[in-house]
């Protein structure tokens, strides 16, 4: 049975196609200004690269913040999708942390993979990928380099502000006082990790902990988060696809 999971994120659209639980194809596209169009584009890409089109699918399900825009398909909530995907990747997972561009989410799941609690941060930029992006541009460092750079940090400085706007001015002050860039990069990741951990504490931290979403591509953040949580954080291979994968599995009735 061929099914597809579509995750319409604020920044990117992710599609995963599975056949009896096995991943057959995946694609990531920018969400753009028109979600319907971008979604169509994503499918066109899938067709070119893998030869699948929507008509081949036995079932398509959507999730993600923009899911309401794709009117044709049935939906699952983000927390359910993320939990399903994470659990399928690793059955010992009890806490899933998802950090995307504009949302952060902490999900607690039981031994059966069922969601028992979740918390979201969608209002404050300081708990999301957008925070890192904004700070990276203040530093004048490309986003992809910020993580590796922070690993070179030798001393610990802290951004105190929770609000991204204040954080920005703190960073400017740091630049003026010639703090080394790696230390500032680390401070940025620590700040985000601090916010994320507060959110995770709401649902409680139970091991194993898995981190998913695009921001888990940032190794600097992963390190800071692990230190703050005082435990190991599992990052799967394609962290941004986990929710789409979970959605595809749900579509397959798995």
């Amino acid at each position: 049975m061929l099914t597809a999971g579509v995750d319409i994120g604020a920044k990117t659209i992710k599609i995963v196609i599975v056949d009896d639980g096995e991943i057959k194809a995946k694609n990531i596209t920018m969400s753009g200004y028109n979600l319907m169009e971008s979604n169509a584009q994503a499918w066109a890409d899938l067709e070119t690269h893998y030869g699948y089109n929507t008509g081949d699918m036995d079932k398509i399900l959507v999730t993600g913040a923009g899911r309401k825009a794709i009117k044709a398909a049935d939906e699952v909530t983000e927390a359910v999708a993320a939990a399903r995907g994470s659990f399928a990747l690793c059955e010992s997972v009890r806490t899933v942390i998802e950090v995307g561009s504009e949302e952060g989410r902490a999900i607690k799941i039981d031994e059966g993979g069922k969601v028992i609690d979740f918390a979201i941060n969608e209002k404050c930029a300081s708990g999301t990928g957008a925070f890192i992006e904004a700070m990276a541009s203040v530093l004048g460092v490309p986003l992809e380099e910020l993580g590796p750079m922070s690993l070179k940090s030798t001393s610990c400085v802290a951004i105190k502000a929770q609000c991204a706007v204040f954080a920005e001015s703190e960073l400017v002050t740091m630049i003026h006082s010639k703090i080394p860039k790696p230390d500032m990069a680390r401070a940025i990741h620590d700040a985000l990790a601090g916010r994320v951990v507060s959110m995770v504490r709401w649902v409680g931290i139970e091991q194993s902990v898995m981190l998913i979403g695009g921001v888990s591509r940032n190794i600097g953040f992963v390190k800071s988060l692990g230190q703050k949580l005082e435990c190991e954080v599992i990052v799967p291979q394609d962290p941004e696809y986990v929710s789409a994968y979970g959605t595809a599995l749900i579509a397959a009735g798995r």
Binding site: A158, K160, A161, Q162, C163, F166, S169, E170, T173, G194, V197, S198, M199, R201, W202, K228
Partner: protein, 373 residues
Amino acid sequence: MIKELFRKSDVFPNDSVTVWKDQGKKVIGFMCSYFPEEVIHAAGMLPFRIRGGSCTRTNCSDAVMSNYSCSFARSCLELAMNGTYGFLDGLIGQDSCSQMERLYDNWRFRTRLPFMHLLHLPYKNSDAGIEWYRHEISVLIESLEKAFQVTVTNENLARAIEVYNETRMLLRSLYELRRNENPPLTGAQSQSIILAATSMPREEYNELLRAALREIRSGEPIRDIRARLMVVGSSIDDPTFIKIIEDQGGLVVTDALCFGGRYFWEPVDNQGDPLLALAGAYLSRPKCPRMMNEHIPLFEFITDMVQNYKVDGIIFQKMKFCNFWGGESLFLEKKLKEFRIPFLSIEREQDLTNAAQIATRVEAFIEMIEGAI
């Protein structure tokens, strides 16, 4: 000596507390300037006022108390949760404000101390209220006696009042020095000295303070003061805030803060029933907006200060989510305008994340007072 006092205020528990504990004696935490510390002293224990100090990261307490709580309360809880307050043998909670009450709730549920007691503080200063508070204090004494196998006698209480009255007198003379045209100490220094009072054995403190006063008197007076300022508002338990103000060229010469002038202003009448004296004196002490019927006296306390200390401008700071001081704005700001004293109203948080903005405002405020340019 004065350096010694700064040190005692800066770290906690400081060495005096450690020495005290090493002697096998007990330390009891309390939460509000309306708490009659004499009672703990009379029981042979050390009262220690809870504060958040320079605690800036509140990751644990944010999660349990939420972002809608006053960050002073959150910082205190953080320190409780991370073990900093492990040296306490007991804690006395008070409904001084609901954030403090909830701090006590969270504390009880998360890290139990051997002795925990909630003391109800009247919201009104009246005869009935004093009678009520007297009873509350006597109940507290009973449970202290039971829990720690001690007896609190009237003599002990009278003795404690005497010791504390001495502090009050000494601190008054410290404030007296700040009235000078060129005071010999800054507002930040003065606050450190008061903070030390709430965190070490009182006899030792009085001695240090007496010596420090001599030092201060012979010290170098501060010149080039751009403006004489007064700070009012929510509790400030760390001199950093005052320092930010003074770094802009103003000198804080007095305040109406509960870790400041309001802490010690009036002595306790040491005659007759000590419990009644304590209840009466504490309830009538310089006002906090939590007292429902004392907003006018609070305003008068401030204006008296303005006159006696030749204050040029008032800095009215409100901790975010502090309802009492935030709400007080309605009346106080109107009255201050009528009184024609310049004031600057600012919102802040414990971690002073907006320090740079505060500094700009204060600087502009000083420029406004100077008016010369």
